[in-house]
């Protein structure tokens, strides 16, 4: 009787463990949505702990407008972009918590565009929540983010397999990426989250709306910004710096975006935090609207280098930050990242010259199989 019980218990345990293992593989690998956003968030956790001098929080303007490898090569400081497409101010606090749990950067740059939304619902999109929470380790912060978010289906956020099961396009792209990595030449891959579109935009700039109030910030944005600032105060963070990345705008002075940025920067500065509006520093950065943008809101590789240079000067000269010493292994990794940044630039530049408007990020075939 006892023997029968033990045999059955062992078989059941083996069965359940097999199922659990298969489910784990399916959830974390096969049926797990992957794109450059998810890859960027996940790769943050591959950075050695407390090894980053600067971390950026923001949206696509950040990961297209800044080059960590180039910054390391020219200014010696390490940085990472904790950024994803259309990142929302409602997630900034949770993202800051993630950063502080793994890094102690000397400066945290926060792109204010996440707080510039005219419709409250666009602050709480399911896609952004998933982009973030599905790619961070399990923690109290992750649980709080999921359960405080208005999106109703909490269980599928905790167990993404519930959403993506059966989605063969997701599984196919995962398998395809692994196969491509195996087939790709053995060259450095680490772009540290960079992305670009090999294109030079020749205008016109974003003219905004004729009605200046059309882009009025939703009241919730101010609430979220104040909450974020309160959190920074509570944590005693004196190294948080707010930024606005440059855009190609028409009639800038009367643009609706300008008045919104003015309002937000007013709040930030009134709370004692620094705000750098790169929109006002076009000349100092050396930006050329006829050459440095791939659309009216995003910089191409040419503009990216100029802005990175500007951040280098900002970080050193204005903020007085000195790069922290790195271990030999880290230094090697960052030297490799710098080489990748150069290769990234060369590839993009060549594509622009050839009028071949490719998208380049760490998952792109053009990057994996570059000559």
């Amino acid at each position: 009787m006892k023997h029968l019980f033990l045999t059955r218990a062992a078989k059941c345990t083996a069965f359940l463990l097999t199922l659990a293992a298969l489910l784990f593989i399916c959830q974390s690998w096969l049926f797990s949505y992957q794109d450059h956003n998810t890859h960027r968030i996940r790769s943050f956790y591959d950075e050695p702990e407390n090894s980053l001098d600067a971390v950026f929080i923001g949206a696509s303007e950040v990961f297209t407008g800044y080059s960590p490898g180039y910054a390391y090569e020219n200014y010696g400081f390490t940085s990472y972009m904790y950024a994803m497409e259309s990142n929302q101010g409602s997630l900034y606090k949770a993202q800051l918590r993630e950063i502080l749990a793994h890094q102690r950067p000397q400066v945290i740059y926060v792109d204010i565009f996440g707080f510039l939304r005219s419709v409250e619902s666009s602050l709480y999109e399911e896609a952004r929540l998933r982009m973030f929470t599905e790619n961070i380790p399990l923690s109290a912060n992750k649980l709080e983010t999921i359960f405080s978010h208005p999106y109703e289906d909490k269980l599928s956020c905790l167990f993404p397999f519930i959403k993506y099961h059966g989605d063969l396009t997701v599984a196919r792209s995962r398998v395809a990426y692994v196969v491509k990595r195996l087939l790709a030449p053995d060259v450095p891959m680490a772009l540290k989250g960079m992305m670009t579109h090999a294109f030079v935009y020749d205008g016109p700039g974003d003219a905004g709306s004729e009605d200046a109030s059309a882009f009025a910030i939703a009241p919730k944005c101010e609430e979220l910004l104040l909450d974020f600032l309160d959190f920074c105060d509570q944590e005693g963070l004196t190294n948080v710096v707010f930024v606005n990345f440059p855009r190609y705008l028409e009639n800038e002075e009367h643009h609706s975006l300008t008045s919104c940025i003015r309002m937000v920067s007013g709040i930030v500065e009134s709370r004692g935090y620094r705000f750098f509006d790169l929109q006002k520093d076009f000349d100092a950065i050396g930006l050329d609207v006829t050459r440095d943008f791939y659309n009216s809101h995003h910089l191409n590789v040419y503009g990216q280098r100029k802005v990175t240079d500007y951040f280098g000067r900002l970080t050193f000269d204005t903020l007085g930050v000195a790069p922290m010493p790195q271990t030999a292994e880290n230094a090697r990794a960052w030297t490799e990242a710098a080489a990748c940044a150069q290769a990234f630039y060369t590839l993009a530049d060549q594509a622009i010259q050839e009028n071949n408007p490719i998208w380049i990020d760490e998952l792109a075939d053009e990057w994996l199989f570059r000559p």
């Binding site: 059955r8 083996a14 298969l22 399916c26 289906d153 519930i162």
Partner: protein, 529 residues
């Protein structure tokens, strides 16, 4: 369910173990919708009281007969028994009127009001019949039939009336079967419900396998097929006859897998608890005649109708007299006439049964048509049976040959398919429209293009095809080994074979099941009844 099973098996007083099931059933019912609870309580209490009342009348008349055994003659005893029987029948009438009345009112009032209103409008009457905002309590059709069956069984003295109200409440509300059956007879179920049960690993294993099989049918096949069916039903008149034909075929698959899948889950749950519910489906699409089909499809409803409607009608004086009247005619003296006189009463009773089956499905003229179609075919089959036998004889057809059996299966499926046209359409007008389109508007190219845009990808069609093939294979094995449980057969296979099959089955269900955000969860089809 897990909590119920744990509490059930750990309950210290085995004699009252069934109270755990009662508590679970009512918690389930209240979670489903507390506003329904009043109706099930009314049915429970009225059923309990009426059964006790009948039992009391029977006991009193028995006692009275004993007392007067010596001094009453045969006629007096007969008269007394008839009076007692009449009293019991009055009680049944009260019970049926109350419970069936509630069901009928909630289910059919608006339908009848609407139909009457149309008629009044047609004749130009100055007033109209109002419709009401009514809701249908969960499982009302199932528990009403089940409780009426119990009261009738007490009347027939097949079972003794249960004195404990809580036990009757459990029988009426038993949670695994309340949503969509099977409808159980009190004599079959009660003993199992109230008896103590010990945990049994083999029952747990078999129950889980049955639940898995039910979930596979429901989540992988039925809900996937429903995506395409829903698309067509939402825009009926813009599809070709080919697409409508395909949709009905898909509906045949979806209805079977949805309904039988749900019942498998219920039976699996009960098996874990130590209770065996009757099978409700037995490979209905393998039926060779329409009679055979209805002995394989929704078996418990068929059994209930046979027991409480068909037999009472078929052996009633009215039908017996009708048979005699036919026999008394000139036609009745012929061979055909003799057959008709025998077959007509029973086949007419079948027609009535199927009329009721149709009406039971829903308050719509299309369901009446559905019922009459099935009943009419059964009636005609019974009446023309000698002619068919004679024809097969004359044509020297070997009725045991596989080709003939296949012909019978396909013929039966066609009859069922026609019935499904009534079932799936929104109303009778749409059903007739569908028939017209299927006959007159067949276009393969247009059909294929439309089918490709019904919301199912190529992968979905492939999954449906593979799963249907798997279902067919299992059904063929079950048909060949009728009487043997496939799960017991699986137990005889080596450990690694069983585990591999189970792991593959569970992973297939988890990966390809229709659940989660982005999917519209399809309720069990028979839940609406």
């Amino acid at each position: 369910m897990l909590l119920t099973a744990v509490v059930y098996f750990l309950f210290p007083v085995k004699k009252y173990q069934w109270t755990v099931l009662l508590a679970a059933s009512y918690v389930f019912y209240l979670i489903a919708g507390y506003k329904y609870a009043a109706f099930i309580v009314i049915t429970t209490v009225s059923t309990w009281l009426c059964a006790l009342w009948i039992d009391r009348i029977a006991a009193k008349s028995s006692a009275e007969l004993k007392v007067h055994k010596a001094d009453w003659d045969r006629e007096q005893k007969k008269t007394f028994k008839a009076a007692a029987r009449k009293k019991k029948q009055h009680v049944i009438l009260i019970d049926v009127a109350l419970n069936l009345g509630i069901l009928a009112f909630l289910k059919y009032y608006n339908f009848l009001a609407g139909s009457l209103d149309d008629l009044l409008g047609f004749v130009g009457a100055p007033f109209s019949v109002p419709t009401l905002k009514l809701f249908l309590p969960l499982g009302i059709s199932f528990y009403t039939f089940q409780s009426i069956g119990y009261v009738v069984d007490v009347y027939r003295e097949k079972v003794a009336a249960e004195k404990n109200l809580a036990r009757v409440a459990l029988f009426v509300s038993f949670f695994p079967q309340i949503i969509q059956g099977p409808i159980s007879f009190y004599g079959q179920l009660a003993g199992q419900l109230y008896a103590p049960h010990r945990f049994d690993f083999v029952r747990l294993k078999h129950g889980c396998e049955l639940i898995l099989w039910g979930l596979f049918k429901k989540l992988v096949i039925a809900d996937r097929a429903y995506i395409a069916i829903k698309t067509v039903l939402g825009d009926y008149r813009n599809y070709s006859g080919t697409t409508l034909t395909f949709t009905i075929l898909l509906y045949a698959l979806q209805l079977y897998t949805d309904f039988s899948g749900g019942v498998d889950i219920s039976r699996g749950v009960c098996q874990i608890l130590g209770i065996d519910l009757t099978e409700n489906f037995r490979r209905p699409y393998f039926a060779t005649t329409i009679n055979d089909y209805w002995r394989r499809w929704h078996i418990s409803l068929g059994a209930w109708m046979k027991e409480y409607v068909f037999y009472p009608l078929a052996i009633s004086k009215t039908f017996a007299n009708a048979s005699k009247r036919i026999r008394a005619t000139r036609f009745g003296a012929t061979k055909a006439g003799i057959h008709v006189s025998r077959a007509l009463p029973t086949s007419f009773a079948s027609l009535v049964v199927f009329f009721l089956v149709g009406v039971w499905h829903g308050a719509n003229w299309k369901y009446v048509a559905f019922g009459l179609w099935n009943g009419g075919v059964i009636m005609l089959s019974a009446l023309l049976e000698p002619a068919f036998v004679s024809l097969t004889h004359r044509l020297r057809i070997n009725v045991r040959h596989w080709a003939f059996i296949l012909f019978q299966i396909l013929r039966t499926f066609l009859i069922v398919f026609i019935g499904y046209v009534f079932d799936v359409a929104a109303n009778l007008t749409d059903s007739l429209y569908t028939f017209r389109m299927m006959l007159l508007d067949q276009s393969l190219s247009r059909g294929l293009a439309e089918i490709g845009a019904l919301g199912l990808s190529a992968a979905d069609f492939l999954i449906l095809a593979v799963c249907t093939l798997a279902l067919l294979t299992v059904s063929i094995i079950q048909e060949k080994h009728a009487g043997q449980s496939l799960r017991v057969m699986l137990d005889s296979k080596p450990f690694y074979v069983r585990y591999l099959l189970l792991v593959i089955g569970i992973m297939f269900l988890l990966i390809f099941g229709i659940y989660g955000p982005g999917y519209d969860p399809a309720d069990f089809v028979y839940m609406q009844f």
